[in-house]
Point group: C2
Chain length 198, copies 2
């Protein structure tokens, strides 16, 4: 990128390495940052470094947090005997937004994938099994509904069943407000299979 | 965003303020950064701050650069009597990528827009007029082909004409490789008006 001077090119290059930021967005972001007041830029920069420095895994559920135990695991209002297993903290946040789930979580930080060579030891699965030695009523598997998520769900189900703890999987079906004509056949079939009597 | 601990929420919030980064992308970016090695994160952070600190306007053409005079204005290989006027450094880069333009540039950093209350004094227009006091053969106006860009082009043309310097505007027309059926009517009309004899 010889059309920009060195420091601008470097900045565009660095930003362009971030996930989901293409070369056009990187350019737009770089010029935006260069035009911001020095304090805002310094503040953004500090926030990034501090978050990286202070954020770690919750010792209970493995979500990312800046405390030893995350606010959900530390809360006496939550049902600690129900554990929802999710792939990452964004999925946890998605369920928290519903405001309806009162149990706790377990964050795997991934899903098993032979294609990407991600095995059971590459995700926080051992940590889940350790938690099951305490009193647990139910493990709800909320991994994604794709190949990796389903394989992970199957493996967890297989590992949990011998313990006698109830294992469940979140339902597949038509999204609320979803227009049937735009929904894929597999989902439609699953929605039919999972039909609920009225 | 109470579902994340404070430092993560702050990071997501800061990233979400960047242009073109929605709340989903901000979350994805935040977790990506938290999972990167500390050195990479520190390096990104330093690159941002340094670029902001050291980048300024080229004293000649007003593009952003980390030197007093940008590489294009400093180059003896360029034709300093031909000035292409663009709205921002990304447009300059777009023309540089063609490798065909041998003149120099003038970067306005915007376009006049009554709607956004951006007037002639809010862009680098005075700086252009100062440059025209030196020996200049032609001013090529390459502002965007939208309302603001056209208004800016009209104003510049009006200001330059009395000086006797040639003023031109880049052509409107069908993009190369463009499929006619997908091109808007105004462009098609302009392409017709600007037809070239073969």
């Amino acid at each position: 990128m010889e059309y920009y001077s060195e420091q601008i090119s470097k900045l565009i290059e660095e930003l362009g390495r971030l996930p989901g930021i293409g070369s056009k967005s990187a350019q737009r972001l770089a010029f935006y940052l260069i035009n911001q007041p020095m304090e805002s830029v310094q503040h953004l920069s500090d926030t990034i470094v501090n978050a990286r420095k202070n954020v770690r895994y919750c010792v209970e559920c493995c979500t990312l947090t800046d405390r030893e135990v995350c606010p959900i695991c530390a809360s006496a209002k939550r049902d600690h005997k129900t554990i929802m297993v999710v792939e990452n903290p964004r999925d946890l946040a998605a369920y928290e937004k519903t405001g309806q789930y009162k149990g706790v979580y377990h964050v795997l930080h991934g899903a098993i994938s032979p294609a990407l060579q991600i095995g059971p030891n590459d995700i926080k699965l051992k940590e889940l099994l350790v938690r099951l030695q305490k009193e647990v009523d139910e493990v709800i598997i909320a991994t994604n509904s794709n190949l990796e998520g389903e394989a992970t769900a199957a493996l967890i189900s297989q590992l949990v069943k011998p313990t006698g703890i109830r294992v469940s999987r979140i339902a597949n079906g038509v999204p609320v407000g979803g227009d049937l004509e735009y929904i894929d056949e597999v989902t439609l079939m699953r929605a039919l299979e999972g039909r609920v009597e009225l």
